[in-house]
């Protein structure tokens, strides 16, 4: 397993270098070359133009520039933003990345579980009205024009029903005399989510081999963890602030989930249908097991594998959907940053944001790969 993870990590790092290389050549390929971004303004006198070119090393040969570019990337130097000058791009990313990661993680997990849960049921309801309804609705949501859908969601839930906040990631009035900055609370929320999922994972591992008492123990464990989390947050005095952020998180997450769960759902359905033809399902039924046990324990477990593979495809879709959703909900994360930078032609920031998105996608990919190897022992020995 360790060897597998190491091999995969090496591959991902290599991919990252290839990705950066592509970005570098993309920058070079733009009309006028990369220097156009710096000296494109005709008001800059020629001597100053020359000075800028020399200082940025743009007069050096291409391979030297490329090595410089890679070195800067590896040392975390992504240049300075044009619009937010003199803030370094890395600084802006460090400030906004946690918000995107939180949204991305929540949306991925929720949409995956929703999709898997519904797909499992859907495969059981072949040919019925439910299948047509859910397939049509799912396909519609999957292909729906996300910006428009996000606005409709805002209109319904934030404007008409007034259940949830309209946009942004916190309520400024509430935070006026907050003891800490919002990003600190954000970091703690991320940490909580991480620790909680790790604890749940360990709980599942530990109780894996226990027979009869498995379910009650798990239930007690999960409730205990959740209670402790709530308790710790309440005791820290930041609970109210975290709740405010969580409240703002609901609508964007809901929007991404609704647009992303369908692909998992439809794939689970197909995968289930294929699994249902296997002999061991017939055996399970012949043994007289209940339909629910056949579905959840025998079919769904094996149908899960191709679905996890497709999670990779879904990750990219969630990131893309996240950019749109962040924009519509004014969620000040990396997606909104990327789009604004692109619209304002703030090329260093746009490139930095794209790099971040690439790194996020690659790391998520690595995690899914490892998860997959964990679920399916056959992968590890390839």
């Amino acid at each position: 397993m360790t060897g597998f993870i190491l091999r995969r990590t090496a591959q991902i790092v290599l991919t990252l270098v290839v990705f950066q290389t592509l970005l570098f050549f993309l920058l070079q390929a733009q009309p006028g070359g990369i220097q156009y971004q710096f000296i494109g303004n005709p008001d800059i006198p020629p001597e100053a133009q020359q000075l800028i070119i020399e200082r940025l090393g743009l007069d050096q040969p291409l391979e030297k520039q490329y090595l410089n570019y890679l070195k800067n990337f590896l040392t975390g130097n992504l240049g300075f933003s044009f619009v937010h000058y003199p803030r370094p791009v890395m600084d802006i990313i460090a400030e906004r990345a946690p918000r995107t990661i939180l949204l991305f993680l929540t949306a991925t997990v929720v949409s995956f579980y929703t999709g898997f849960f519904l797909g499992r049921i859907l495969a059981w309801q072949r040919g019925g009205l439910v299948e047509y309804g859910v397939t049509l609705g799912g396909s519609f949501l999957y292909t729906v024009f996300t910006p428009w859908f996000g606005l409709v969601m805002i209109w319904i839930f934030a404007f008409k029903l007034d259940w949830l906040p309209v946009g942004k990631f916190l309520n400024p009035l509430k935070w006026q005399d907050a003891p800490v900055r919002a990003n600190v609370v954000f970091g703690h929320m991320l940490l909580t989510a991480l620790v909680l999922s790790l604890l749940l994972f360990i709980l599942y591992l530990v109780t894996h081999k226990i027979g009869q008492w498995k379910d009650p123990i798990r239930r007690v464990g999960i409730t205990g963890f959740l209670l402790v989390t709530v308790g710790v947050w309440a005791a820290s005095g930041l609970g109210g602030y975290a709740l405010d952020i969580a409240g703002h998180l609901v609508l964007p997450t809901l929007t991404i989930t609704l647009t992303a769960f369908a692909s998992t759902m439809l794939l689970t359905r197909n995968s289930m249908l294929e699994t249902l033809r296997e002999d061991y399902i017939l055996t399970a039924r012949a043994k007289g097991l209940s339909e629910r046990v056949v579905r959840d324990r025998h079919a769904a477990r094996n149908a899960l594998l191709p679905v996890v593979t497709s999670l990779v495809l879904n990750l990219a879709a969630v990131i893309s959907g996240g950019i749109i959703t962040e924009t519509i909900f004014s969620w000040p994360g990396m997606g909104l940053t990327l789009l604004q930078a692109a619209q304002q032609k703030d090329i260093p920031l746009a490139m930095g944001a794209l790099t971040f998105v690439g790194v996020l996608a690659l790391i998520a990919h690595l995690v899914v790969d490892v998860l997959y190897a964990f679920l399916d022992p056959r992968i590890r020995y390839h």
């Binding site: 991919t15 396909s139 024009f145 606005l151 990779v312 990219a316 893309s320 692109a342 090329i347």
Partner: protein, 359 residues
């Protein structure tokens, strides 16, 4: 045995029809069988119906423009209809924007000397649907229905071009990598892995910032990214299963060159699957175009995305159902056409993949 009997025998054993007619008949029969599978799944028919509807809209637009619709008024980009309405100036909240106007708005926008109770003649854009404009007009006084129909053509062009490019690249590369294996295979498959992992939209957004993207560039970009990406992986997997079939061996033993085997024996067997992925590419292309033009990163003058962008720029987005004709037609058109191609793709999936058919 003389020459004539030999001729007779071969005449009897060989069909009299030319070869192309037999091939055509076989193809027709295959199509009929697949059509039966396709029809069995009503979801595909729904999709096909929607596509047909938009296709008719596309054809109808130039005909309407040259007959019923006056280009000055109905041109989707530069048309303008001066619709005026008479409104009464009132103080405080207005109940009906078609008959009343708030005094402050009237003073700022129309007549500084306006008094409560005056009747003003104002421009009614965006005007609600009427007999002359079935879907109303946009904030610039252009006919929404005309814009909707006009954009259909570019959506179809974009979608189908992107799909053709994708399928052409994916089938060629999939077949070649499966056939040769080795270094070529490794290179293209790792490239596909890379493209799959990276989210599409951010890359297109940054490209939109770096270059002036027109519709045709976008179609090519989506086609190339799709072609080298996920579609290749799937088509190659299919090509691997076809490659080991006996007829490929037979073709090689009969002395077929590599290219001959690939393009006359391997590729035709990948076509159904490629066709299926064309449908999904169309969905992706139309969606990307709409999103990019919604964000103002595309260099085109009219599309469904632009219609939504205009409604947003002019601040009509959160007006709910009051200005529904600005948002709903274009938004629904995007959803419907994307869904339609996706549904047809899903129905084709069940035709191509026998394991998914009804028990």
């Amino acid at each position: 045995m003389n020459q004539s009997t030999c001729q007779e025998i071969s005449d009897k054993s060989l069909p009299t029809e030319p070869l192309w007619r037999i091939r055509l008949r076989l193809m027709w029969r295959g199509l009929g069988r697949n059509w039966a599978f396709f029809v069995e799944n009503r979801i595909g028919l729904v999709g096909l119906g929607i596509i047909l509807f938009f296709f008719l809209l596309m054809i109808a637009h130039p005909i309407l423009m040259s007959t019923v619709w006056d280009p000055v008024v109905y041109d989707p980009v530069i048309g303008y209809d001066e619709i005026t309405i008479d409104v009464t100036v009132v103080d405080g909240q207005i109940t009906d924007s078609l008959q009343e106007i708030n005094i402050d708005v009237a003073k700022i926008d129309y007549d500084p000397a306006a008094q409560v109770g005056d009747v003003l003649t104002i421009l009614a854009q965006p005007a609600p649907p009427s007999r002359a404009h079935l879907l109303g007009t946009d904030p610039l006084g252009r006919d929404v229905l005309s814009q909707l129909m006009y954009s259909t053509a570019s959506e179809f062009t974009l979608g189908i071009m992107a799909a053709l490019v994708t399928v052409f690249i994916a089938t060629t590369i999939g077949a070649v990598s499966a056939y040769y294996g080795g270094l070529i295979d490794t290179f293209f498959m790792r490239l596909a892995d890379l493209i799959i992992i990276l989210p599409f939209l951010p890359i297109l957004i940054v490209l939109g910032a770096l270059f002036d993207l027109e519709l045709i560039h976008l179609a090519l970009l989506i086609g190339v990214l799709g072609g080298f990406g996920g579609t290749t992986l799937i088509i190659k997997a299919q090509a691997l299963t076809v490659k080991v079939k006996p007829f490929i061996e037979a073709a090689r033993i009969a002395g077929g060159s590599d290219w001959h085997v690939i393009f006359t024996h391997l590729v035709p067997n990948l076509m159904p699957l490629a066709f299926l992925y064309m449908m999904f590419t169309v969905t992706g292309a139309i969606f990307s175009e709409a999103v990019l033009s919604f964000f103002g990163l595309l260099d085109i003058n009219m599309s469904w995305g632009i219609m939504i962008q205009l409604a947003q720029n002019q601040g009509y987005l959160l007006s709910g159902t009051r200005y529904w004709w600005l948002l709903m037609p274009s938004g629904l058109a995007i959803c419907l056409l994307c869904t339609a191609f996706y549904l047809v793709g899903r129905a084709l999936d069940e035709v191509v993949n026998p394991r998914l058919r009804q028990r």
